[in-house]
């Protein structure tokens, strides 16, 4: 039998681990400080915010949809927090509200995509601008930096003898939660089913609209959480917060092995891809490689990530041309005729 077991060996995850080790080894040659525990843990802070977005985006992409408005939702969250902080509202009250606002923004995307059946790319491109504008409208153009100390704790503090950032713990918890959601619960199974075949899933009694709206809301809520981390890390809130970070997020998801057309991939892959990107970025920072080059590397990795399935298919075709002949548009077309 050609395809006997579903996941024989987590090949892609393994590749990512090797790549991380390679990048780590390269980094350690650049700076003697690289391998210190402080440095390693500290460097993870760089990808916690995009990491939270990537976890949410992974769920959305597993459905075969996309959300590129997530970075703008962070900005909505940070400026809202600045208002709360200025009004003296304790974080215990404002944090859940901000997460809820994020979820609401996400759910609105989901409503447009799932209920009204608008193309997710165009819709979230629109809400990306709209939410960003909203953030500016709420927060005005001047940044707010006068945060109450309690607001900074989550994003800036370290625990365990000042080594492990609190935000890393938060990220780890969220990663485990999303992993569990996607790979162990009914909801996750339904997400992957919809991503593979929306119609068949609907025929099998899956509520597609509801599932999609929930995924968008979850991604929005994680963006809200990321906003709280942001305040701690940067201590400032402005309408342009996190602008442009969506490239990193999409790259992490794609490189993590989530099929951009939906239905396949693992959360562990996404987390590993985040580590890889973080390590590469950290290393490039140590090597004094500038931001622009980093952007080029990121862009190339993204393109490589999406070309990977196509390349694999091409390789398979080269090694075994006969078997794949029936596939392709012809195969799809032939069903449903007569």
């Amino acid at each position: 039998m050609a395809a006997k077991a579903k996941r024989q060996w987590p090949f892609w995850e393994f590749t990512l681990i090797v790549a991380i080790l390679g990048a780590g080894a390269w980094s350690s040659t650049l700076s003697p400080y690289y391998l210190s525990v402080d440095q390693l843990f500290g460097s993870t802070r760089a990808f916690i915010i995009p990491g939270l977005l990537a976890l949410g985006l992974a769920v959305v992409v597993s459905l075969g949809e996309i959300d590129i408005s997530l970075a703008s939702i962070i900005a909505v969250g940070t400026v809202t927090l600045s208002k709360f902080s200025a009004a003296g509202v304790p974080l215990g009250v404002s944090a859940p509200i901000v997460v809820a606002i994020g979820a609401l923004c996400g759910a609105f995307n989901g409503l447009l995509v799932a209920k009204w059946r608008l193309p997710s790319l165009a819709v979230t491109l629109g809400t990306m601008g709209a939410y960003r504008g909203l953030a500016f409208i709420i927060g005005s153009e001047v940044g707010y930096t006068d945060f109450d100390d309690s607001y900074l704790w989550l994003g800036s503090e370290y625990i365990f003898h000042g080594i492990v950032p609190v935000s890393l713990i938060v990220f780890a918890l969220m990663a485990i939660l999303v992993w569990f959601l996607m790979h162990r619960t009914v909801y996750g199974r339904r997400c992957f089913s919809i991503g593979l075949n929306t119609d068949a899933s609907w025929f099998a009694g899956v509520d597609v609209t509801e599932t999609k709206i929930r995924a968008y809301a979850l991604a929005g809520a994680l963006a809200g959480l990321a906003a709280i981390v942001w305040i701690g890390q940067y201590g400032s809130a402005r309408g342009d917060n996190a602008d442009g970070s969506i490239l990193f997020v999409v790259t992490a998801v794609v490189l993590g092995g989530i099929d951009i057309n939906g239905g396949r991939g693992t959360i562990s892959g996404v987390v590993l891809a985040l580590f890889l990107l973080g390590t590469i970025r950290n290393g490039m920072g140590l090597a004094n490689i500038g931001g622009p080059t980093q952007t080029v590397v990121l862009g190339s990795l993204l393109v490589a990530g999406v070309l990977r399935p196509a390349a694999a298919a091409a390789l398979a075709r080269l090694s075994n041309p006969a078997r794949l002949k029936a596939a392709g548009p012809q195969g799809v077309e032939s069903s449903g005729q007569e």
């Binding site: 059946r117 790319l121 491109l125 601008g129 909203l134 500016f136 057309n261 862009g299 393109v303 999406v306």
Partner: protein, 339 residues
Amino acid sequence: MSDQPVPAEAAPSRNLVQFVLRLREAGVVVFLVLLGLTFGLLNDRFLSVQNLTIVASSAAILAIAACAQGVVLITRNLDVSVGSMMGLVAYLTADWTANHPGISPAEVVAIAVVLGIGLGAINGLLVAYGKVPALIGTLGTMSLYRGLTYIYAHGQEVSSSRLPHWMLESADIRIAGCPIYVIIAIIIVMAVAWFLYAYPLGRRIYAVGSNGVAAWFFGLRAERVVMFAYVLCGFLCGIAGLLYAARVGTVNVVLASGWEMSSLAAAVIGGVSVSGGSGTVIGAALGAVVLAAIDNGLVLLRVPEFWRMFIQGAAIVAAVAVDALIAEAIRRSTAGRRR
């Protein structure tokens, strides 16, 4: 049920579809007029000839970019590297011009165009032949092109003092009181519109976007058509980038960043469908004028700039929703028994 004459029943929705499809651009014009009147009522300077000229010239380059985006959208794809292509072309061309004093205008244009075509071809290869989803592929090249601009620039900008006079002065040329950029934009948009309207390849661009399955059944080679659309998009971005460089004089690395968004907004507002096959580049150019008018009006009314972002985003969502309604009406009125 079976004896009823069908046409009588289906007629209203059918006419509506036809009507909307035909008159999408007219709708944009009507909207533009209403917008102008509103701004004119709120601020008497808005409708002055001088101000309208400003609106037109600020819309000119965006109109070309929107036209580039429109061509790709019609094939049911998308190009978010428009701004980066413009930036890279502008920087490289300006740098080359600065380092080669005495270069002729024709050579400069040729460099910009060739660069644009090359960058567009890379996008086209990725999307049409690499089967990479358009958003992801061009998101990658967007950062790639922008990053290359940074790397090449090394933090330097090409200052206006190093550029030839004819280039810097070109932006101020007026023919019969009309800025030359506006004329160039009109000529280019009209030429592309004519090409799409009247040439077989142009019609195939529409055909591929209109119904991919039909194109396959018909035997059209969709890859070539999509590839061509991206090359044309790159070509237009090359021209737009050069014009932008000449207008601002000092070319820096962030030139035209964010234009992928503006060009898309302009095209979608101008009635180009994100689900392919419908809309015209003239509409896209009109969309650019709408955006420029909103910008200008908001400035005159002293509304903070960031409202523009919100309005632009909301406009995209609204335009997409209208689009989806039309697509739904088409689907319902067209053959096909399944859902």
